[in-house]
Symmetry: C2
Subunit: 483 residues, 2 copies
């Protein structure tokens, strides 16, 4: 028994079953934590998150040197994300999303939820396994060709893995015999993993075979109402990208195999982009080249401007579908005269994992990731001095700072990490911090030894650097927006 206790003590956090294993071991004692009632501690204790314990495999080593990793580095975001331990390739176009990416993605999902629910969207979750029958009804079973992952179940029945869910959602709505015009518009959306057997998966999360997508479907009483819904979704998309600080262009687009009458893409201008856009210099016209007659250089809208070509990464796509699917599956509602009427539909996609990678692609430097502030996995990294250095006596201030943030800044709960790798120089850890792109890096350096300690703060998004007192820090970080 004694040997077990001794062992437990060596392992530090072992005797603290309710507190995080990422917790600072140096400051913990069993007695301290035993007073926390077990049922509450996971919600109320704010453990110190230690960089040494965060799972970012490869510990920032240069992935390019590892011959065992499949796939070549085809773009900046892929390289940066693999180097920082954010993603790891499994098979072509399929990636492990590592813990920091999951944190970032969960933030993006909350933002999307806010915007979709803000325009009345209701969130559901549809099966990935879609029966062939359903897809044959819309003729997409054949139309989609090799892009569709197909499989048979043990009884020989055919299924595909849904890359999109027009068939599924329309048949769901069709099953409700009592849908009234009063319940429209009905906006249903999901944020789930989608599958597409890309001929050439590449660019990391930008073009994968498995990815997360937000897909929304709208049902309206008539064409006019459907256009209004369409417009409100486009506005929500624009707000989303604006909150992320991303410059996004809404361009006229082709309807492709989804079909329908009207379509727009939301594009982030970027050299790596696979889409070619034509943007008018004189008016608001912008379009995917696919929708403009080849070689045309004059603007079809204002007739005077010249079309300039640029490249973009498609991060969103909207379609006004009309009755294409509702007609096939007989998705009707009772109108004011109590007569069954075919609903007008729209569908609206956002590439969730693609937005993450695209944001990193357009915002980052060659050496380090820069995040949209709201999506950074952690907002603050505190860097204490190197062990044995002359500033070492100020080391305690680091944990004090982290503790103060935890106590006074509830919006930063879980957002502050302590880079406890004090065997490394500050310079080396700052290089890591720059690669990972924490929006705020707080360094305990020389100035921390002054009578009123001051701390160096690096705002990595703007490149600003300043020296602040503890109060100044709390004031600055208290204004950080989180989601």
């Amino acid at each position: 028994m004694e040997s077990i206790m001794h062992h437990a003590w060596q392992r530090g956090f072992r005797c603290l079953p309710r507190t995080s294993a990422l917790l600072s071991r140096s400051h913990s004692s069993c007695a301290e934590h035993a007073t926390n009632p077990a049922s509450a501690s996971s919600r109320h204790v704010t453990p110190t998150l230690l960089v040494s314990r965060l799972y970012q495999p490869s510990n920032l080593r240069d992935v390019g040197q590892d011959s065992r990793l499949p796939g070549e580095m085809t773009c900046k975001s892929q390289r940066l994300m693999q180097q920082a331990g954010l993603i790891h390739p499994s098979s072509p176009g399929c990636y492990y999303y590592l813990p920091a990416t999951v944190r970032s993605m969960e933030k993006l999902v909350r933002l999307i939820d806010q915007e979709m629910q803000g325009i009345g969207g209701q969130k559901l979750d549809m099966p990935s396994l879609c029966s062939a029958e359903l897809w044959k009804s819309s003729e997409r079973w054949d139309l989609m060709g090799k892009e569709l992952f197909r499989l048979k179940d043990r009884h020989g029945a055919d299924y595909c893995l849904g890359p999109t869910h027009e068939e599924a959602v329309t048949t769901l709505v069709a099953h409700q015999t009592t849908l009234s015009y009063r319940q429209l518009p009905l906006l249903l959306y999901q944020i789930t993993r989608k599958f597409r057997d890309e001929p050439k998966p590449r660019f990391g999360l930008l073009r994968g075979r498995e990815f997360y997508m937000k897909d929304m479907y709208s049902f309206d009483v008539n064409e006019e109402a459907a256009y209004q819904t369409y417009e409100s979704v486009c506005q929500a998309y624009t707000r989303l990208f604006s909150r992320l600080g991303l410059r996004c262009v809404q361009v006229q687009a082709d309807t492709g195999n989804i079909g329908g009458k009207l379509s727009h893409e939301f594009q982030l201008p970027a050299d790596i982009g696979e889409d070619r856009l034509l943007v008018c210099g004189s008016c608001s016209f912008s379009a995917n080249v696919e929708t403009v007659s080849a070689g045309r250089t004059d603007c079809p809208q204002c007739k005077t401007g010249t079309l300039v070509e640029s490249k973009g990464i498609e991060v969103g796509h909207t379609f006004y579908l009309g009755t294409k699917y509702s007609h096939i599956f007989n998705a009707t509602f009772s109108n004011a005269q109590n007569k069954p009427t075919i609903a007008e539909m729209g569908c609206y996609g956002l590439g969730v994992t693609r937005i993450l990678a695209a944001a990193i692609e357009v915002m980052s430097t060659e050496e380090g990731i820069r995040w949209p502030g709201l999506l950074a996995p952690y907002q603050v990294c505190v860097v204490p001095p190197k062990k044995g250095s002359k500033v070492d006596e100020a080391a305690g201030l680091a944990e004090e700072l982290v503790h103060t943030f935890g106590e006074t800044l509830p919006c930063l709960r879980g957002e502050v990490v302590l880079d406890d790798r004090t065997n490394m120089t500050i310079g080396k850890r700052l290089k890591d911090a720059s690669r990972l792109g924490y929006p705020y890096v707080v360094v305990i350096g020389q100035a921390a030894l002054e009578e009123i300690p001051r701390f160096e703060v690096i705002c990595q998004q703007t490149g600003e650097m300043m020296f602040l007192s503890k109060d100044g820090l709390v004031d600055l970080l208290g204004r950080v927006e989180t989601v």
Copy 2:
């Protein structure tokens, strides 16, 4: 333009692009809402959620009478969930999770995150498409037989849809050449959709072919440490079920095709349960019958007690794996002497969608769903009087109440719905409320006409009923725990 405005007005919320389409139309005006800055309103406005607008398809009609719905009703939770518009069958063992279910599941996911992160778990997300190569390494490609959904990509490469991820996570950890003993235990988990081609999918979400599972994997320095990790996960599971108010038995179990040395199941006792348990009347021994010699009735632990058989629904399963997978994939860490050492592993599953259905199965009445309080999709339903009834003059109090809750009880944000179907009698709406199982139902009845209005509160989980003033209500509901 005028006709558009007129149209917009008729549609009510149309002129409020940032506010929810589920919003009360009677109390909204464009001017009121236009003052909300667009970028903030989705987070700060608390719109009134209207029952008439919630997507619960079939509007509570009796699904059993609808011949178009596939699958028979094989248990209470399935019947109740379909009747209440919580789930909808698509193909055998595959369900649409409708909005109320998604809300409930998101709460369960937050609870699981708290408990897993409380013991140091780090959340990642692994691909669903798993290469055959990986599964052949562990020999499970053949062992799993028909339970594995298999498919080929466009190049003819073989994949399966992951029902569990021992191979994937172990190979991930093996790729990290620099893993140090200081970083162990390493606990990685995900909450994702899993696939299993069940021979007989049934019981709604209890045995499906697509389902959500939390799967955690642990890596430890040695056997003793691995047992401690195993124990800490079991404790976290016990805390989780205790917070849900579910009686859960931890039983000794068979290791099945996962393999390993030690295994426990977490079982909810229920008649519908597919597992047979033997529980000792004298000591703490309990086991799945599979692990006890057939016909044995004396307890193998205390030797004196008698084993009594009961049935259970398996909601969690833990395995101590030893080096079974780490050996195959060479998942090593550097020990204190800097020598590569094979990690000791464990794996730990929780059936997320199954917990939801199992909780409904064991807690509900035949007529209505009863939720673990923390998981109810909405905590409170306010029922105003029938239009034209003699209590109608108190109707305004309903919206006033909802508004007050929104202002004074931040933990109930998004948790209060108003049953605006005032063309229906209170009795009929109470019947619906009982079926859906809101923990608290507030009725604006006769007593609301008294000088100091009082409201009838029905606590559906306990069956209690009481009359409270507005202050009393705020006091009661302020103590509701949410996640």
